[in-house]
C-alpha cells in the first residue's frame, strides 16, 4: 500500500526543504531586526514595526503580485538577476524562498522581539558591568534567556511557510519538484477530482499543524530550570 503518490512525496520533500531554508534565513534576518525593535527609541520604530507586520493583514495575493512584478524583467529584482546573468526568480524555488521570507517575517520577528523585550534592560546592564561586550552579551545572556522566544519563532516560521498557498501560486505556479508544495498539490488533486489523494495530504497537514501547535504551547509553558 502506498499512502502517497510519488508526486505527493516530491511535494512533501519540496515543502520541507522550502520551510527549512526559509526558517534558517528568517532567524538570521529577524534576530537583528528584533534586537533593534526591542531596544530602540528611534522615531522609525513604528514605521519598521508596521512594515514587518504587513504580511499579517495583507492578502497573500497582493504580496505575491508585487513580488512577481519585482521579479519580472522590468522589476528591480528581475533587472538584478538579468544583469548578473542569472535566471529569473519568478516560477523558481529561489523565488519561493524570497517570497516566503517576506510572508513569514512577522511570525519570526515578533516572538523574538517579545522575548527580548520581556527580559528588560537589567540583564544587559548587568552583563555590561561584568565586562561583556555587545556580541558576548547576545550569545551568553540574551540568547539563553530568551530561548523560548527563538524556538517559538522557528516553529511558527516553519509552520507558516508550510501552510502558505496564495503567495506560492502567484510567484511559483505549480511546477513539480520546483514550486509544487503540498498546499498547491492538494489544490491540484481537488481540481482533478482526485479526492482520496487530497484527503491523504490534507489529513497529513491537519496532523502536522496540530502537532506543531502542541509543541509550541509546550515550549511556551514556563518550565522550571535544570
Amino acid at each position: 500500500m502506498t499512502l502517497f503518490t510519488s508526486d505527493d512525496v516530491t511535494a512533501i520533500k519540496l515543502t520541507v526543504m522550502l520551510a527549512s531554508t526559509v526558517t534558517v534565513i528568517l532567524l538570521i534576518i529577524s534576530t537583528p531586526v528584533a534586537l533593534w525593535l526591542a531596544s530602540t527609541h528611534s522615531k522609525w520604530k513604528g514605521f519598521v514595526s508596521a512594515l514587518v507586520a504587513m504580511p499579517l493583514v495583507l492578502p497573500p495575493s497582493v504580496l505575491g503580485f508585487y513580488l512577481l512584478i519585482a521579479m519580472g524583467p522590468e522589476g528591480p529584482l528581475g533587472m538584478l538577476t538579468t544583469s548578473l546573468g542569472l535566471p529569473s526568480f519568478a516560477f523558481s524555488f529561489s523565488g519561493l524562498v524570497i517570497a516566503s521570507v517576506f510572508y513569514s517575517l512577522p511570525f519570526v520577528v515578533q516572538p523574538i522581539q517579545n522575548a527580548i523585550e520581556s527580559l528588560g534592560a537589567r540583564p544587559l546592564e548587568v552583563a555590561a558591568t561584568l565586562r561583556a561586550g555587545k556580541l558576548d552579551t547576545f550569545f551568553t545572556v540574551i540568547l539563553p534567556l530568551s530561548k523560548a522566544g527563538f524556538y517559538t519563532a522557528a516553529v511558527l516560521g516553519f509552520a507558516h511557510t508550510v501552510g502558505e498557498f496564495g503567495v506560492v501560486l502567484m510567484i511559483g505556479g505549480n511546477i513539480p519538484g520546483e514550486t509544487q508544495v503540498i498546499s498547491v498539490k492538494i489544490y491540484e488533486h481537488v481540481e482533478s477530482l482526485n479526492y482520496a489523494q487530497a484527503h491523504t495530504l490534507s489529513l497529513t497537514m491537519v496532523l502536522f499543524s496540530f502537532l506543531t501547535l502542541a509543541l509550541l504551547y509546550s515550549i511556551q509553558k514556563p518550565k522550571s530550570k535544570n
Binding site: 537589567r122 548587568v126 561584568l130 565586562r131 561583556a132
Partner: protein, 358 residues
C-alpha cells in the same frame, strides 16, 4: 602628582527630573551617596557607571577619563563592579557559573581570588544552586561576590540592602563591613538608610532633588546641624576612634577619638581595634558650670560652634566643639535661652550614652 579622587560633573534631564552635580570624592574607603528616594542618588551612580547614555558632562576616576565632551568609555570597558538594588544574577546560570562569568571577563590582575570572595561572603554552600533556589539575601551576597570577581578598581553599590527585610539586612551588613576592612577597594554606596551610612561611610554626599546638598567626611556631615533634618528624632554624631583600654571590673571600654576619651559599654572588642561611636543628640545635655559628681561618665568642657532652632521651635540644636571633635546636641529652646547659649559660649557637655556601632 597622582590624582586620588573620583570627580563627576554631570547633567541629565528627564521629563520630570533634572540632575546637576559636581562632586569630588576620595577613592579610598566607602563614599556614601545619601538621599531620600527621588533625590537622584541612583541616577548619579548610573551616570558614573556609564549606564545613562543621556548624561552630559565628565567623569574622571583617578587618572582615567571615563567621560568627557569627546569621549565616552562604554560600561564594559570601565574598571568597575556594580551591585544592583534587586537581585541581578543571571537566572540561567548557577551561582558558581555566575561567578565564573565575572572571572572569565574580569581583569587578569587578580586582587580578589574566587576562594577569598566565596569565604568573605559565606556562599560556599550555595554555589551549585540556581538563583531561584536562593533567598534574597543569599542572592545579594552572590551578586556582591560576582562584582568583586571582575577585579574592579571601584565598586558601585546601589542600595544593596533596600530590597531586603530587616533580618536579611542584618545578615548582610557584617559582610559589607568585612568587605570594607579586608579589601582596599574604594566603594561608592547609594543608600537612604541612616544606620547604613553610620556604620559604613567614610565620606558622605547628601543629595536632594537632583543636587548635592552637602558633602564631607562622615564625622563632618553627621555633626552638621543641617544634616539633622534627615535624621529626625535620632539625630546623632559619629566619631571614629580606637579602643584603648578595657575595664573588666565595670565592663567598660575606653574609646579614644582625637583627644577625647569616651567610656562605653564593653562589647568585647580588642584593645587597638578601630571603632565608630554614635552619640544621639538627645543624649547630650549642657550646663554652664562644672557638674558635680553625677551618674554620667562622659563629661567634657566644650565650646558652642553653632546654634539653630530644630524643626519644632521648642527644641534647639547646638553643635559643640570638644578638642577637634564636633558633637550635635538637642536641648530645649527654653534651656538654650536660660543658659544664654550662643556661638562661642563655654559649656560643659554631659553625654549620657555612647554606643559603639562597629
Amino acid at each position: 602628582m597622582k590624582s586620588n579622587t573620583l570627580s563627576a560633573n554631570l547633567f541629565l534631564r528627564r521629563e520630570d527630573f533634572e540632575l546637576t552635580i559636581d562632586i569630588t570624592a576620595p577613592t579610598n574607603g566607602v563614599t556614601a551617596i545619601f538621599g531620600a528616594s527621588g533625590s537622584g542618588k541612583t541616577t548619579l551612580l548610573r551616570c558614573i557607571a556609564g549606564l545613562e547614555k543621556g548624561a552630559k558632562g565628565s567623569v574622571k576616576f583617578k587618572e582615567q577619563i571615563w567621560q568627557s565632551e569627546k569621549t565616552f568609555i562604554p560600561v564594559h570597558k570601565r574598571p568597575l563592579g556594580y551591585v544592583f538594588q534587586e537581585a541581578s544574577l543571571f537566572d540561567h546560570l548557577t551561582a558558581d557559573k555566575n561567578l565564573q562569568y565575572a572571572i572569565a571577563r574580569g581583569s587578569n590582575n587578580t586582587v580578589t581570588t574566587k576562594q577569598q570572595a566565596v569565604e568573605l561572603l559565606g556562599i560556599g554552600d550555595l554555589l551549585q544552586r540556581y538563583p531561584e533556589q536562593l533567598s534574597g539575601g543569599e542572592r545579594q551576597r552572590v551578586a556582591i561576590a560576582r562584582a568583586l570577581l571582575v577585579q574592579p578598581e571601584l565598586l558601585l553599590m546601589d542600595e544593596p540592602l533596600a530590597s531586603l527585610d530587616a533580618p536579611r539586612k542584618a545578615e548582610i551588613l557584617p559582610y559589607l563591613e568585612k568587605l570594607k576592612s579586608e579589601l582596599s577597594l574604594p566603594i561608592l554606596y547609594v543608600t537612604h538608610a541612616i544606620d547604613e551610612i553610620a556604620r559604613l561611610a567614610d565620606y558622605i554626599i547628601v543629595m536632594e532633588m537632583g543636587k548635592v546638598l552637602m558633602q564631607g567626611t562622615a564625622g563632618e556631615v553627621f555633626s552638621s546641624v543641617k544634616f539633622s533634618h534627615f535624621q529626625g528624632e535620632d539625630t546623632a554624631s559619629i566619631l571614629s576612634g580606637k579602643v584603648i583600654e578595657i575595664d573588666e571590673e565595670f565592663h567598660l571600654c575606653t574609646v579614644k577619638s582625637e583627644e577625647l576619651l569616651l567610656q562605653c559599654r564593653d562589647l568585647s572588642y580588642d584593645v587597638g581595634k578601630s571603632v565608630r561611636v554614635r552619640i544621639l543628640a538627645r543624649d547630650v545635655s549642657l550646663t554652664t558650670s562644672s557638674p558635680a559628681k553625677s551618674s554620667i561618665l562622659n563629661s567634657f568642657d566644650a565650646t558652642v560652634a553653632e546654634v539653630q532652632e530644630d524643626k519644632h521651635p521648642g527644641l534647639t540644636l547646638v553643635k559643640i566643639k570638644i578638642g577637634d571633635n564636633h558633637i550635635v546636641c538637642r536641648i530645649s529652646s527654653k534651656s538654650a535661652h536660660e543658659l544664654s547659649i550662643k556661638v562661642g559660649s563655654k559649656v560643659w557637655a554631659q553625654i549620657k550614652s555612647v554606643a559603639i556601632i562597629q
